[in-house]
Amino acid sequence: MKNKENITSENHEQEHVSSYSELFGTWAALIILTGMTVFISISGANLRTLTIATALLIASVKALVVGFYFMHLKFETRLYRIMIIIVMALFTFFLIMVILDYLTR
């Protein structure tokens, strides 16, 4: 699941210090995304499934922004990104298989 490289690189890693402006920019991006998703919801009230997809898509972009910048995933060793990808892939698989059961019943 992991290769040697990122295991050794666990040990020499520099602590990243986010600048205030970087954090502020992140926040602004999040607010804009929130505005977008609210706007789509109010204006396109009869899009149904499309709104589910877009709403979840925007939510995921927001989650990524929080993860990468606020939670420093971008600056951590690769190990952390690999782990979160595996966790999310696993969860997605759970979801897909359960829904698949319902779709094919």
């Binding site: 295991i7 666990e10 298989m97 698949l100 059961d101």
Partner: protein, 540 residues
């Protein structure tokens, strides 16, 4: 505290008194506290198992009412699963030996380790409290299937909360081990120089960490449904019971690997030591642990073939299930290859390891029968299933647990048990085990359903065999435990390395000092199982 730790002051002597145990941060003491608790619950639940077999000696009612029988098998299942087998090897031997094998002095978070033990105790108290009030322990089976678990008047809420708390304890143990393995390996020990037991714990910990929360939340939903009367899983008021089964098995199938993987790790330790030979296919065994953990997440649907899940989903889950056989078989072949041409020293731990392979093969192959949709529809919820999972959990994981106990006994207590007696106990145990459970496989094929206190007269003979088997097994268990206790009390002193093992735990004294090592442990050159004087016929 005045004792300056001389090399011969071991972790038992350094501090005395009950509180020095209950609030210890020493991983070895926490491991032993787990051992005593887990052992106690095993005996309680084994007693319940023998009682059930007694009821099944003859058709019709023998010693308990149908309702009591329902509660007894539920309690037996809940205790065996949540209080015995899941914490058994990781929490006992993982705690005790992972830091030793990695060449460090404790786990990464000693306080969280202690917390995890106390959560275990709390969960156990919750589970036992169901005996004390209301209409007694749950009668749902250990699976707590909705909607019955929502409707029954027995103490399901409490039992479910117990499972929730025990799950939390298990998560914390897993979390601790993952960080320990990443951060505390002795300098020079890369992932690929780790003992295979550590690898198997690593894989197990990831399952504990990622699967347990799903059942946690599911059980909370059962509680909420019972308290607020919401139709979350009750079809009569809009819910879908199959959704409960999905969520339950998303955890509980991987949980089978929480039981099996550490057991495989134990076998991978015992076999090279008693063959005095490099393990065959180190990487294959190590990575197949990860593969089993991974694939194990994708097969939960094989428990639901008859429950109304869709046909296509059943077929997909069935195919995925067969894939688990591949990494499992890889391990078995490698163990056997390790033994081939080794200088085999037949001792009790090795016998347990071989019994593991034998029993686990039966468990695994019957598992394939259950994993095939068509065959499963025939044997689902029969004694075939009961036989199958006892072969996996008891014949597999349970025997590996006993094997580990015999393997590491001299290291933990610095004494040796009576070998002859251990051999005799093992033999009786092994015969009793197979006598108890093999008939169940046949009974299942003949159509005897599980979870009933009664059966049709035509099943009588084999049930008698099985019940007598339970007595043989119980005799073997008592002999084994008696022999170990006798060894603990007055066994001969054991040397630091009685089996001539070469993983790091054998480099320190027996019992180990408080901080495990009095000097830097030395890594074996050429991998953790590179026996110096072995006829080296293969190199990985």
């Amino acid at each position: 505290m005045t004792v300056a730790a001389l090399p011969q002051t071991n972790f038992f002597q350094i501090k005395k008194g009950i509180f020095s145990w209950l609030f210890t941060l020493d991983h070895k003491r926490i491991g032993l506290m787990y051992l005593y608790s887990v052992g106690l619950f095993f005996l309680v639940a084994a007693g319940l198992g023998v009682a059930m077999r007694l009821e099944l000696l003859n058709p019709g009612r023998d010693i308990m009412s149908p309702q009591t029988y329902n509660q007894v098998f539920t309690l037996h299942g809940v205790i065996m699963i949540f209080l015995f087998i899941i914490p058994s090897i990781p929490a006992v031997f993982g705690n005790f030996f992972l830091p030793l094998m990695l060449g460090t002095d404790d786990v990464a978070f000693p306080k969280i380790n202690l917390l995890s033990y106390w959560l275990y105790v709390l969960g156990a108290l919750f589970a036992l409290s169901t005996l004390m009030y209301g209409s007694g322990p749950a009668d749902t089976g250990w699976t707590f299937y909705a909607p019955y678990s929502v409707k029954t008047g027995t103490n399901v809420t409490m039992a479910v909360l117990a499972a929730f708390i025990l799950g939390f304890s298990s998560i914390l143990t897993g979390l601790n081990f993952i960080v320990t393995i990443h951060r505390l390996r002795t300098p020079g020990m890369g992932f690929n120089q780790m003992p295979l037991f550590a690898w198997s714990l690593y894989a197990t910990s990831w399952i504990q960490l990622l699967a347990t929360p799903v059942i946690g939340i599911t059980l909370l939903m059962i509680v909420a449904e019972r308290v607020f009367g919401i139709g979350l899983f009750d079809p009569a008021i809009g819910g879908d019971p199959i959704l409960y089964q999905h969520l339950f098995w998303i955890y509980s199938h991987p949980a089978v690997y929480i039981m099996a993987l550490p057991a495989m790790g134990i076998v991978s330790e015992i076999i090279p030591t008693f063959a005095q030979r490099t393990i065959f296919g180190y990487k294959a065994i190590a990575y197949s642990s990860m593969a089993i953990a991974f694939v194990g997440y994708f097969v939960w649907g094989h428990h639901m073939f008859t429950s109304g899940m869709s046909g296509p989903a059943a077929i997909i889950f069935s195919i995925l299930t067969f894939f688990v056989a591949i990494p499992t078989a890889i391990k078995v072949f490698n163990w056997v290859a390790t033994l081939y041409k080794g200088s085999i020293n037949i001792q009790v731990p090795l016998l347990f390891a071989l019994a593991f392979i034998f029993n686990f093969m039966i468990g695994g192959l019957t598992g394939l029968v259950l994993g095939a949709v068509a065959a499963d529809i025939h044997v689902h919820d029969t004694y075939f299933v009961v036989g199958h999972f006892h072969y996996v959990m008891f014949g597999g994981a349970g025997f590996a647990f006993f094997g580990a106990l015999h393997y590491w006994f001299p290291k933990i207590w610095g004494r040796m048990y009576n070998m002859r007696m251990a051999n005799i106990a093992f033999t009786i145990l092994f015969i009793g085990f197979n006598m108890l459970y093999f008939p169940m496989l046949i009974l299942g094929l003949e159509g005897m359903p599980r979870r009933y206190y009664d059966y049709l007269p035509e099943f009588h003979t084999l049930n008698v065999v099985s019940t007598v088997g339970s007595w043989v097994l119980a005799t073997g268990l008592l002999l084994m435990i008696g022999n170990l206790i006798a060894g603990y009390l007055k066994g001969k002193a054991a040397s630091a390395n009685p089996w001539n093992g070469i993983t790091l735990e054998w480099q320190t004294s027996s019992p180990p000092p408080l901080h495990n090592f009095d000097k830097m442990p030395e890594l074996t050159k050429g991998g953790p199982y590179n026996f110096p004087n072995a006829k080296s016929t293969h190199k990985k």
